[in-house]
Symmetry: none
Subunit: 189 residues, 4 copies
């Protein structure tokens, strides 16, 4: 008896997700060139061939991983946060809280790491910083944020987030900075 159409679809979805989920970390840690399909498949716990059922090539899988990192990085929560009727200082504290907490999730950290990596290589667009810049400008008007070019401050802030994302990918017991340390990059004392 043939498997039901839906069950098949389900299995496919599951396997595809499994591959993506497990690959994010692997690629984030080892990079594209440093990732062997043989090792990756072992790490995922499937046969090499299975990867090629779901992805045309190693590059294709990598691209998919990147698309995911986009979603992780350009998080909705942050965009919504910017729109709330709050003083910038509080927005920054909330954002920092959220980010420091999220970095404990390896997939979030990997997403941030991959996305920033791509940003550095000039392959992702920088509109990503827009939300943060808006908050910074608001804060500068309100007097709670240090003076300086908002793009530069934004890059600095997210650079530090990236830094700790990368750190947490390599070491399980990172001495993580606190939400306050992170906020302090932007906030006037």
């Amino acid at each position: 008896m043939p498997k039901s159409q839906e069950r098949c679809q389900e299995i496919r979805e599951e396997t595809r997700n499994l591959i993506i989920r497990k690959s994010i970390l692997y690629f984030a840690r080892n990079g594209f060139a440093g990732t062997k399909i043989s090792d990756l498949s072992k790490h995922i716990g499937i046969a090499q061939g299975t990867i090629y059922i779901y992805f045309k090539s190693k590059e294709d899988l990598y691209a998919e991983i990147f698309a995911i990192s986009d979603k992780i990085a350009s998080n909705d929560k942050l965009s919504m946060l910017a729109e709330l009727p709050l003083p910038a200082g509080q927005k920054i504290k909330k954002m920092s809280d959220y980010l420091i907490k999220s970095l404990k999730d390896e997939n979030f950290a990997a997403g941030i790491a991959l996305y920033t990596q791509r940003l550095l290589e000039g392959e992702a667009d920088q509109s990503f910083y827009g939300t943060t810049e808006k908050i910074i400008k608001q804060g500068q008007k309100e007097g709670s944020v240090v003076s300086g070019n908002s793009r530069k401050l934004s890059e600095f802030y997210w650079g530090v987030v990236y830094l700790y994302a990368v750190k947490s990918l390599y070491t399980s017991d990172v001495v993580m900075i606190t939400s306050d340390d992170l906020s302090r990059i932007l906030l006037e004392d």
Copy 2:
């Protein structure tokens, strides 16, 4: 004949240095796995075979590069700075001045990037932070440095240096932070 002997030695030295100098950047940008000897040799402007006259293997060359990055990172100037009879605040400002200035040199940036990368991967020892920690502790006694675990602060400070080292490897026109921005990570306002 002795003259030509020397000249030969000189040429050897020159080529060897050329390879090392050009490789630092290439490895820093692309990583070990991402660097192909064929590309690297093209980038240096020599034949593939020539690299193997001076280095036993790709790994051998990489190790050499790392030794260089060690020297760059554990700079004598900084150790000396720590010993000077100055208030910690000034030491930090001088160190930041020096680092921000040095980052303009691509080889310095590459050295910092490679060294930190290795640190992250747990392959370089962390004694490197010692000097900075000393200054931080001094500053905390003097009241000029923010409170907090000195290792954590030190890692944060160097993390940001790493961040801008990496940025400058990828983009020629980085919006670099100022020496003051960097110092502010450690200094009480």
Copy 3:
């Protein structure tokens, strides 16, 4: 129950025949190495696994296909024709008529193509030409067939049949030669 037993057997037979019928053409067109089970099964309209219920392996299926092509090529009608009390000229015309007509059937064409292919590769025995040679020799005695080595003429004749078998496998609208054209290879004008 016995009824359903038979019905089962019947279904089995049907599926098995379907696979064979559809495979002949596929193999004839693409060759053994050029035929992927995944493509073939799609072409047949069944799942890949189903093929392995009826055939132990790809080679096994190919062998079966060959057995069929044997039967097609060493057709009984032709052997009987040779035995009839007719002048060779008429036998050749009848044979040509039959062959040209049969080539319109794709399975016949595929059978001829596969069989001759195997003959070329030295994997089928050449006794196959025997019947035709006999007729040729008879015709040469009777003066209706051109002079020359009977094996050579026979190979020529069947070569042309093969040629048009192959042509009809690739193009649906072959400019087919007539039965007379074919006969003329052997017949004195």
Copy 4:
């Protein structure tokens, strides 16, 4: 001391030609799918990697082989022959002479086989038959060529050439037809 520019060029040319020359036969005999790069390289007498220095992929090499087969098939000698002020009957005899003689050269045979194969698959254009058709029409006017559609006759004639090209690829001791046998396809007795 570096190898001289010209010598390098020469070596490259030689190796490239070696690969092409040896591949023609291999592909003609085994087809694209039936040819393994590992076997082919062994047959050529070089390392697998060497093939990829000269050709981007197996397909690329195959395409090159096909380009060569084009040149072999659309031979200049035949076009010139058509233009000569000779009766068609003589042209056909000369053409047949030339073809039967040339088929003894394995590369010529392979070229014809590959080209015709591509023609069958509809991937080569049929302008190729033009020259022969012209001669046929001339001959029909002159009364030396059998009546019938010139394209059909042309295809028949070249089909037989293909047939013996293929035969000679598989067997070293083919019972080859004579130039007269070949001509007789077109010539009135």
